[in-house]
Amino acid sequence: MTRAMFDAAARSDVLLQVKRLTRTFDVSKPWLNRVLEGGEKQILTAVADVNFEIRRGETFALVGESGSGKSTIAKMVVGLLAPSAGQILFDGQDMRQPSGAQMRSLRRRFQMIFQDPFASLNPRWRVGEIIAEPIRTFGLAHGADLRREVGRLLETVGLSPKDASKFPHEFSGGQRQRIAIARALSSKPDFIICDEPTSALDVSVQAQILNLMRDLQDEFGLTYLFISHDLSVVRHMANRIGVLYLGRLAEVAEARRLFTAPLHPYSKMLLDAVPDLAMSGRRRKRVEGEIPNPITPPPGCAFHPRCPWAFERCPVERPYMVSRDGSEAACFAVEEGRI
């Protein structure tokens, strides 16, 4: 089934739903220091009130600069971090409440690919063991079947079944990322969370991995949550994109739409900042300012101090999502038609 057909068939079918997801971290100094030196409790809001849906078979991407909360969301979705508030529904089931057995069957269905293929593979395990572990854990195959399955997975990601007996250090970064992908596929998941899967790789190797990930998506009907700071990679991979700024979604739009007609001023700024490879001679707008400290974000819309369209409402009220032309943006200037 092609990607497009898959999209059409699954249009109404939501696999993952994230509702008002929030995560805060207490970054205060220790109690004694606070008492002796003074100072308040400090709470960092890494993710605030984030809502999105991912449909079966699509790739939903989250982009944002460092500190925007991308990875925190990924960790919460995969269950490595508990949300402070909000809900994550996977295939209609609330991920907070399931019993042990339910959780186990859910866990099989989503897997994660991490950024650093040097840190995400156990250096003391042979590649075969690394890939076999999830299969064994979920009791999907045993004995000779298990070995055959591992060999087949290695072939699927473009390696050789013989590589099963090697150790991770014998592979290059790109090959290691292939091993990580084979491991993610081994439990036959339908959902994979990819946290900057190619950021540590060179461009030519990145191309190999991105092509592989798209092929696998077509072959197995996978759904991806794709997290990246690289806009060109995101455009290539995603059907829909959520743009994060300081832990909040600024805009959610179809990939093509975001790149041709971004709504939110931050999305516009982000696109303007990308160096132009086509050398069209476009004079880039110089972006002013930097991301503020997330412990003390600006009031109202967190982007207002850097926003050329900001007006009196922006520092006072917090913007909510408004729809326009099929995209959604949290921006008063968009709502009032000023942009």
């Binding site: 600069e65 060179d202 030519s204 190797v205 191309a207 696109l271 160096p275 972006v287 930097e290």
Partner: protein
Amino acid sequence: MAEPLLSVRNLVVEFPTRRGILRAIDDVSFDIHEGEVLGMVGESGAGKSITGAAIIGLIEPPGRIAGGEIWLRGQRIDNLRPKAMRKVRGRRIGMVFQDPLTSLNPLYTVAEQIVETIRTHLDVSEKEARSRAIDLLDQVGIPAARQRIDDYPHHFSGGMRQRVVIALALAAEPELVIADEPTTALDVSVQAQIIDILKELCAERGASVMLITHDMGVIAETADRVAVLYAGRMAEIGPVRNVMQDALHPYTRGLMGSIPSLTHDSDRLVQIPGSMPRLDAIPPGCAFNPRCPRAFARCPVERPYLLDQGGGRRVACWLYDDPDLPKAGESDDPRDV
């Protein structure tokens, strides 16, 4: 043409290891002209940073320059004694590295570091140096420079720190600035600011720039000419527009095609099979030949040298030695992009 500011001739850099000598840079030659920005691109391990380190005499022993010459405006600098080299480094060649935290000393204020740099190289009073330092910080876009100059590096954000590093690199009014991945550790929105500042300030001062990066977008926006390195050898060099849009070397073409586009839809990215060879296993002949869609009988046998293609373009590829062969991108092979 006038004498180049910097001329690197047949540079060879070697690292002895237990398993033999690794040649990290193998016969690389290029010039940087007055006021020019030369981009140096390549994937990790291609030798970009080592080329930069060789120019400023900072190859870590036991690595060493095993051959070739480096000339800075008519003066040979690759064989200078450490003391003489220190006068070149910082004074005539400024440096900007990837990680601004490691290039600043956390125990000294920004003022102390810039003033020290200025006074080491230029004969000015403490007071004069300080006012120059404030000017510099102002020019690199640090708000309230007069107050912030007495802050420590950790008081600054990543982007601001990189501005301080640029101020430091320009402090002694160098003729050449070597910027090694100056924006890689920064977010996109800040990246653009830093590149603009580096470009503007060097242009104002007439300083040349050697910009080392793996980011083709940064090169496209900044460089006048670009050199492409592969496995420690130069694959291609030419004006940036030519190299980015109509590269001659099959490696450069593959590399450019493998970058996802921001404006065009494509189902698949161009894929160069395999990966760059390790330095202890560089194939004979052309280092790229096992991965090259256009390799032919001559490639695994003879090592190509840079062939002049006119218009300042040179390419190390045998396809260009034979006028009858279709050039890279002109054959029927679908892999040949």
